[in-house]
Amino acid sequence: MTPNVDERLASVVRSLTEVVLPHLPPDASLAQEQVHLAIGHIQIIRAQFDQVPDFEREELDDYRDLATALRKSVSGGEKTSGALQAIDVALANAGGLGVRDQRVAVNKAVEKLVDALPLDGAEGAQGKAAQMIVDHAEHRTLKDREWFVPFGFDTL
């Protein structure tokens, strides 16, 4: 039996809090700041560690849903068609990549479409895609913001 990740991280926090921090000189401001930040980081990681795979999987699924919806909703000339094909490729290549690499690939393909639509998208396609992206981001961003609330920046 080995200690689990949470127990190991908890021991690191305790070491930093009760051994390292009190022994830093009062004028070691950078070291003190960084130890406080390291403790904060680790506490957040402890709280989220078990949920990270599910969070990233859901994130990927959300971006795949958007890419699929865009694929079905807009059309255009050569550049737009090329971007739509790139989305097909990104969606089809899912099996060979990890979750993060899939997310990057899908989002790069969507960016290519965003850039192509003003050039030769069908009438109204740019506005339609833009609205779909904003609607999607409203839903997706809320999840991201909730995830990052422990960092203390957001007033969500």
Partner: protein, 385 residues
């Protein structure tokens, strides 16, 4: 990226950023090393002076900063050394900041710049030295805030600071750069949209070099910024990072003693500064009345009205909206690309802060959604040249 037009200085900054990609890791300078390098520097600049009391300054997210004392003929003076790490969360130019702060002496409270070593001839990295100014960036008891974000001033200090805050910004914008040119500052007067374009091009260049991970909403906002650049009616000196946390004040009197962090200043559109001031990340939601105040000083419309009254300018709401979007986009690039790249490459002295700040990126995505919902996405202007 190479073809995007921008100020020469910013082109050099981007080139430097690109060239630093393969450099070895950087580590925080030790106090003894700074003591040594200062002693060597002043052996040339002030041979009879003695350096003592070198002490690192906490806070901030971009520079290595140290207080020190210089004693000569029985007289002691306090100085601040500001030195770039190898790669920072914002990449700037010490000479340019030095020139501007010198020009601002006597106009607005600002530290007196004394020496600059922009080419790192004497210091390990580009550096500048200024006289120390008394004051604090936040009230004692305000708690620990990362990089001064979300500082709560409270009603008493707010009442003392708010008029000064606007007046100093108006004074900066009134600087007569035509009569008193700022060496190294180029003027975006080639066409009415050049000011917005230069700003966009620089930050987009940073995004590309620092390998920001795109998202559909970022791509949309980026495109909107390219397609909707506003015309600038009046070119002014902008501060670039004007907010609570970037000025010093005396806690008792509430007098602003120095405006800090001039490194993002340029000649551009005053709306760019106003939008930055109004960013949610730099403001607070009052715990009592739940009111949002920019820099914990003004509600949005109140700030705009005060600026208009004191400057005599009219704030163009469409232009302000453009720079609202650009401000959130810049902040997103700073935390989600520049800071992460500096940490990833181990080229900074506080990687743990930079990766922590990346946690703010979702908030700026929230800004994108809020601001894009206020935008007619079916309308587009001509693609700028």
């Amino acid at each position: 990226m190479q073809n995007r037009e921008m100020e020469t200085c910013y082109r050099k900054i981007l080139d430097r950023r690109q060239a630093s990609m393969d450099l070895p890791p950087y580590r925080a300078a030790l106090r003894e090393e700074i003591q040594d390098v200062l002693a060597k520097f002043f052996a040339i600049e002030r041979p009879d002076a003695e350096v003592s009391g070198v002490k690192r300054v906490g806070g901030g997210a971009s520079k290595e900063q140290f207080f020190f004392t210089l004693t000569q003929d029985g007289k002691s003076e306090q100085f601040l050394l500001r030195m770039d790490p190898r790669k920072a969360i914002t990449e700037t130019d010490r000479e340019r900041e030095f020139v501007l702060i010198k020009a601002m002496q006597g106009l607005v409270p600002a530290p007196e710049p004394v020496w600059v070593d922009n080419d790192a001839e004497h210091f390990p990295q580009p550096a500048a030295i200024m006289r120390v100014v008394s004051g604090v960036t936040k009230p004692s008891g305000a708690g620990v805030k990362v990089s001064g974000l979300g500082t709560y001033l409270g009603p008493n200090l707010r009442a003392k600071l708010r008029d000064q805050f606007v007046d100093h910004l108006v004074t900066i914008h009134a600087y007569d750069w035509r009569a008193k040119p700022l060496v190294g500052f180029e003027v975006p007067d080639g066409d009415p949209r050049q000011a917005a374009r230069w700003s966009y091009n620089y930050w987009r260049g940073m995004w590309d070099i620092d390998r920001g991970e795109t998202k559909p909403i970022f791509a949309l906002v980026d495109q909107w910024l390219r397609e909707n650049m506003p015309e600038t009616a009046e070119l002014v000196v902008t501060h670039g990072d004007y907010r609570t946390g970037n000025y010093l004040f005396e806690e008792d009197s509430g007098e602003i003693t120095a405006i800090l962090d001039w490194e993002l200043a340029r000649i551009g559109d005053f709306h760019e500064d106003l939008a930055w001031v109004l960013m949610q990340v730099f403001g607070t939601f009052d715990p009592e009345d739940k009111t949002f105040r920019a820099s914990d000083l003004f509600e949005r419309d109140e700030f705009i009205a005060e600026y208009e009254k004191r400057s005599g300018r009219t704030v163009n709401r469409a232009t302000l909206h453009y720079y609202d979007v650009m401000s959130s986009w810049k902040c997103y690039i700073i935390v989600a690309a520049d800071g992460l790249e500096a940490a990833r490459s181990q080229h900074n002295h506080q990687d743990v802060l930079l990766t922590f700040l990346a946690g703010a990126s979702a908030m700026f995505e929230g800004d994108f959604v809020r601001l894009m919902k206020q935008t007619d996405l079916t309308q587009r202007q001509e693609e700028p040249a």
